[in-house]
Structure formats: C-alpha cells, structure tokens
C-alpha cells in the first residue's frame, strides 16, 4: 500500500510540474486572438473618446445587438460598446469601467435576464483569462472570494499552453475574435453572414438575486458621484426564449422599475427568429439596427 501511495504522489508531482510550467508560459497565439482581448481597444475608447458619450456595459446581447453608427448619426453622441461576454460577470464589468467614467457620461445597462438571477461577483474561465492573459492588472478588480474561486481554473489554463491546437491550425469563428469589433465596440464581423438555426433557451429558474440589484445601485451611485448617469434597458431575446421565461422576466421588470431609471419595456425588445444570428440574444445586422432604433426611441422619450 505504501508503494501505491508513493506512486500516486509521484504522479501528482509530475502533473504539478506540467501545470507550473504552463502557468508561467505566455498566452498562446489562439488566446491572443480571442474576443477577450477586445477589452484593450475598448479601454482605449473609454480613455480617449471625449464627452458627450454613451457607454454600454453588459454582455454579448449588446455586442451582438447594437449599431453604434446609428446612435452617432441620430444623437450626435459617440457610443462606446464595452460589452464582451456574459461570463465575465457584473462585478468585474462595473469595477473595470468605473475608473474611466467622466462627467456627463451616460451609462446604459441592457443586461441579459440571466444576470439578475446569477451571482454578482461571478467567476468563470473567461474572467480568469481576462486577468491572466489580457491584463494581470485586472486582478485588482476581483475580491478575495473571486480569486479563491478562480483557482480551480488554473490546471486547465496552464495545460492549454501545451495544446498544439493553440499554436497551429487554430480556426476561430471570425465573429468571436479580437478583430470582430468596429470602432464603437460592436461586433460587426457577422453582419454579412447568413442566419443560423437558433434553439430557444429553456425556461429560466431561480429568483432575483438582491446582491445584483445592490451591486447595480452601488455602481449607479459611483457613476453619479463622477457626474454621469445610469439607465437600465432590456436585452433582445428571441421570441420563443422570451415566452419560455415570461414570469421571471415580468418580476425582473418590476424590480428594475422600482429601483432604477429604465428605458422601454421587455416586450419592445423581443426579436423574431429572422433577426437573430446564432444565439437567442445575438442579432444579425437587421436585428442590431432595429434594436438600436428602439433604444434611441426609448432614450428620446426619457429625455423629453
């Protein structure tokens, strides 16, 4: 039995060595082309674009669902679409955006409904890579619990460095790359692609997480302190996906209207399948145009 235990210990030591080496190797060529690296350019927009500007914070329902050019043309305000991926989590998104907020900024949060049921300080492989690959300084935006929860991602992250597919012959979907974004931060690489079959999302379950509502409130207070303003809006779900979770969505609407300045209603942003691209919240060009126009109409209503 001792020999058996010793052998297992040796095996774990070998595994540990691989993980340790991989951890300190630089990001792979494939990782560097990932859409997460879009953050660098989006940060540059946040830093350099002068006011007046409207900043969108959220998930891929915004990056795949907005046409910044229309906003710029019709409102004369420069839109900055900072959104990348749902899995990065709200806590990180807010903390990361706050340092760039300037007086007069308008921040709009058209968050996917899942955010309100999820944990506020979410952790994921995407968040881990945001810290390890994109910019290690991003670590300062995470709290202790998040850092602890990110530890299980280390083996996969480190061992990926030895994956040959990360170095040669890797094929990314061109709409999920660092180059997929336009000058406003919208994903436009898919605008000439045909629609894909989109299966509706199953009904959502759970209840609204008060920590999320509090987190948004805190973010709003910080933005207001800096002279900006915050509005919430609704995502652009597929019709069938919306119908699957209509009760929860109604509850979310009530919670938002009770606590925040809200643009529009959930029903206005429901999208038919013909306006979707490849996911229940990802829009094609026509869909992005329609959603943007709806958002502008709602914005004008509030300004009146």
């Amino acid at each position: 039995m001792h020999k058996f235990i010793l052998k297992i210990a040796q095996f774990f030591l070998v595994c540990f060595c691989f993980i340790a080496i991989g951890f300190f190797l630089p990001p792979t060529p494939r990782a560097k082309t990932s859409l997460l690296f879009g953050e660098v350019r989006k940060d540059s927009l946040l830093k350099n674009v002068k006011t007046p500007r409207v900043i969108f914070v959220g998930d891929s329902n915004v990056s795949f669902g907005l046409n910044g050019q229309i906003i710029k043309d019709s409102l004369g305000i420069y839109p900055i679409n900072t959104t990348i991926h749902f899995s990065i989590g709200l806590q990180y998104m807010f903390k990361h955006t706050l340092p760039y907020i300037k007086s007069g900024d308008v921040v709009i949060l058209p968050l996917i409904y899942g955010f309100y049921l999820d944990t506020y300080d979410k952790t994921s492989e995407e968040l881990f890579r945001m810290v390890m690959d994109v910019d290690k300084n991003n670590l300062k935006y995470l709290n202790k619990e998040q850092i602890l929860h990110l530890i299980p991602y280390i083996p996969k992250y480190a061992l990926t460095k030895f994956d040959p597919f990360e170095y040669v012959g890797f094929i990314n979907n061109k709409w999920y790359e660092v180059t997929s974004f336009n000058e406003f931060g919208d994903v436009t690489a898919h605008w000439n692609e045909g629609n894909q079959y989109v299966a509706p999302m199953p009904p959502m379950s759970g209840s609204i997480n008060p920590a999320v509502i509090n987190g948004i409130k805190e973010f709003e207070q910080e933005v207001v302190k800096k002279g900006g303003s915050v509005f919430l809006s609704y995502p652009c779900p597929q019709d069938a996906t919306f119908r699957n979770s209509v009760d929860i969505i109604n509850a979310i609407q009530q919670a938002l209207e009770a606590n925040f300045n809200v643009l529009g209603t959930p029903q206005r942003y429901i999208m038919p399948d013909s306006l979707l691209f490849n996911a229940p919240y990802h829009l094609n060009k026509k869909g992005a145009d329609r959603r943007t126009k709806l958002l502008i109409e709602d914005w004008k209503l509030v300004k009146r």
């Binding site: 039995m1 691989f18 083996p155 990926t160 030895f162 079959y197």
Partner: protein, 482 residues
Amino acid sequence: MLFNSLPFFIFFVVVFFLYYFVFKEKTKSQNVLLLVANYFFYAWVDWRLLPLLIVSTLIFYGLGIAIFNTNNEKRKSLFCTLGVVFGLGVLGYFKYVNFFITSLSDLFESLGLHTNWHTFKILVPIGISFYTFRLLSYVLDIHREECEPTRNFVAFATYVAFFPCILSGPIDRPNKLIPQIETKRIFNYSLATDGLRQILWGLFKKMVIADNCAGVVDRIWENYTDHSGSTLALGAILCSIQVYADFSGYTDMAIGIGKLLGFRLTKNFNYPFFSKNIADYWKKWHISLTSWLTDYVFTPLNFTFRKLKKWGVILAVLVNFTLVGLWHGANWNFVAFGVFHGLLYIPLILSGVLSKEVKIETGKWGLPQLKDFCQMLLTFFLVVIGGIIFKSGSIAEAWHFVARLFSFPFFSIPVGLPRVTLYASVFSVVLIIVEWIGRHNDYTLERIPIKSGLLRLVLYAIIVGTIIVYGNKGGAFIYFQF
C-alpha cells in the same frame, strides 16, 4: 453520482480508506461496508428506488435457497419460474408498461377504434435492466445446477448491487462474482495500479471522445434536415464512436474501480470496431449482455427450433435481437435497431460464415490485409446505420436521416458546428489507431511498451492533461437510461 464527478471521487476515497485501512483483511466487515456503500451510491440517484432493489434482492435470495433445497424437480421449476416471472414482471411494469399502452392505443386508433387509455406516471428505477438480469441469472443458474446459492445474504446483496456495475453493467454472472465477494481480499499493488490505468483510459474515452462527440452529434441531429449528406455522415460516424466511447469508457471505469477493491469483473468490450462481420461485432460488443442472452434465450430457442435447421437459427437470432433492442428501451426505434442487426445475421447463417472462426490477417506494418480491412469497413458502415436507428427518436426520423444521408448535395463543408467537432474527429481517429495497436490487450492501456517508470508517469500525466484541456463535462452515461 457519475464516476467522473467530484462527489464520486470523495465517496470512493472514503470507501477505499475504510476498506483497506479500517476493515483491513476482515472480509465480513469489508462486505458490510461494500453493501452500505452500494446502497448509498444507489440511493444518491434517488432514494425512492432503493426499496425495490432491496425487496428484489430478498426475494431472489430466498428463491435461490428454495430451488437448491428442494429435491422435487417440479418445485424447483416452480420456484425458478416464480423468479423469472417476478423479475420480468417488475422489469416489464417499470420499463415497458407505458410503451405497450401507447403502442396498443396507437394500433387501435389506426384501426379506427378510439381508446381512452392513460399511461402511468412511473419512476423508472435506474439500472433496473442490469440488476434484474443479474438476479435472473442467479435463479436460472441454480436451477441449471451451474452454481450453488450463497447463504451469505450480505455477499448476495453486494453481488446484486455492486456499485461499480449497478448502473450500466457489466452483468456479472453469480459464479464469477459471488465467490470473489466471499473470499478474503488483501490489497494487490499490481491489480490496483492496473485498475487506475483502466479508469484513466475510461475517463479519456468518456470525457475526451464521447462527450465531445455528443456536442457535435446532438447539434447535427437537432436540425438534420439542414445538413448535407457529408455532414450527416460525419454525425452518424461520430454517433457510433460516441456510444462506444461512452459505454466502454464507463465499463473501463467500473472494471478499474472493481480492481482497486480487489475484484475482477467481466470484460464487456473487445475492440468491436475491428470486426469482420456483424456476428463478430456482437461477440465483442456488450459481451456480458450478449452472452447472457445467448445462454438464456438464444440457445434454448435454437434447441426448440432445431428441426427447422438454418431457418430455426434465423428465427432464434431474430427473437434474440428483438429482445436486445427492447432491452435497450421501450421505443420502436430500439426494436428496429435490434431487428436490423438480427437481419444482418441472415446472410451469415445461410452462407455458413457464422460458425467459422474470425481472424484478422495483418501485413508487415501491422495493418490489416486489404480484404479484411474492407470487411471491417463494411461492418463499421452497418454498425453506423444501426447507430442512426439507435440515436433517432423514431423509426421515421431514422428513415429520413438515412434518406438524407444519400441525397444531394452530398458534400459541403459543415456550417454551424461547434469547435469541438475538430477535437471529436481528431480524437476519434486517435482512439481507432491506439485501439488497433493495443487490440490484443484486455484494455488498450493494459501494457504500455515504456520501461521507464518516470516516462510512464509522464504519459499518464499527458493523458490527464488531455482530459483536463479537451474533456467536456457532458451529461450522464448513455447506458444509464437502460
């Protein structure tokens, strides 16, 4: 509690520690621990399923002794029949009653007769097909005087509910496993390391191959009408590889866990993709089920129909394979799957190939001879067609899928398939190559031609790394539903 989950890892580490450190060399205590672990493992799935398992175990334990103790042949047969009727009755009720109700109702409706029958809300006990077959073989073997009943209830209950095998087999025979349970077991280093190696290979097959294939196969199946023939062909091939990697991966893990506890379980797969005809394939696929059905169904039927000569064999094979299909599930596509395989036997029986020994000739590079290769390819093609029937939700869907497979446009570059398609395809090829090289082993990694212990550890670490990097956290094992 899946084998590839953290709760199972914790569960097994606790059992392993108690088994070898606390109850060391005390067979009775070890068996009690195993029985508790078995029931805990089974109850983890759904505790409501446990009473049926315990009641069935008690009944068959009693029947076994009753059959053995009586000298009256009629009473022996009566007890045996009682066991068979009870086992099949329970199986039929839980697994097939709704199927028969809806099928009969549909039949009457098609004849213009309206029925008002309702199906029952039945919780199907997981693994019921597997443990029922164990129980049946126990009473049948005692009746045939091929084994004696055990008086040790703990050993018998452990045999029926042995946690590595209860959910998806292998279906061990009583005379193979019960004596092992009753014998003193001490830690065996080489058996334990062999077990770990087999678990590792099983994990690789399940997580890297089966679960990645699942992502592609499900995507193709959910909108198969939008894909070209070549994409459907890819989906169908990956489907067959998925089912094999999933089920044989589970079996490798089960046998490996058994080895860690000092048991040698029945081999369930013997490289079925390297078969020269469909009969050869079924000798290598789900061996414990096919041998069970051969012993208890095919052979008696074949004897009954012996006057019909070759047609009697065909009849016995068709009945046998209809049962193979039905065993898999209460759905007509499974029946069709069984019948399809049964029909493939007919040319073999009529040409006399069935009774010939099948051997694959290899050339100097270790590759199969062209003729053998073509035969293996043809068999694989037939298995893939069978796989389409197996995977489809209905016979009509299977038919449409096969029809589209051979329709224009045949070739197009797959669109909208996930990134894992590449992994699934590459690792499927790796699986075939590695299995070909290791096909003479009990399982592929059994003997690794590397002498250095350190290099072997590095190889295992690479496999673990591959599982971590490419492994997909898929759902439950496919055969859990059966």
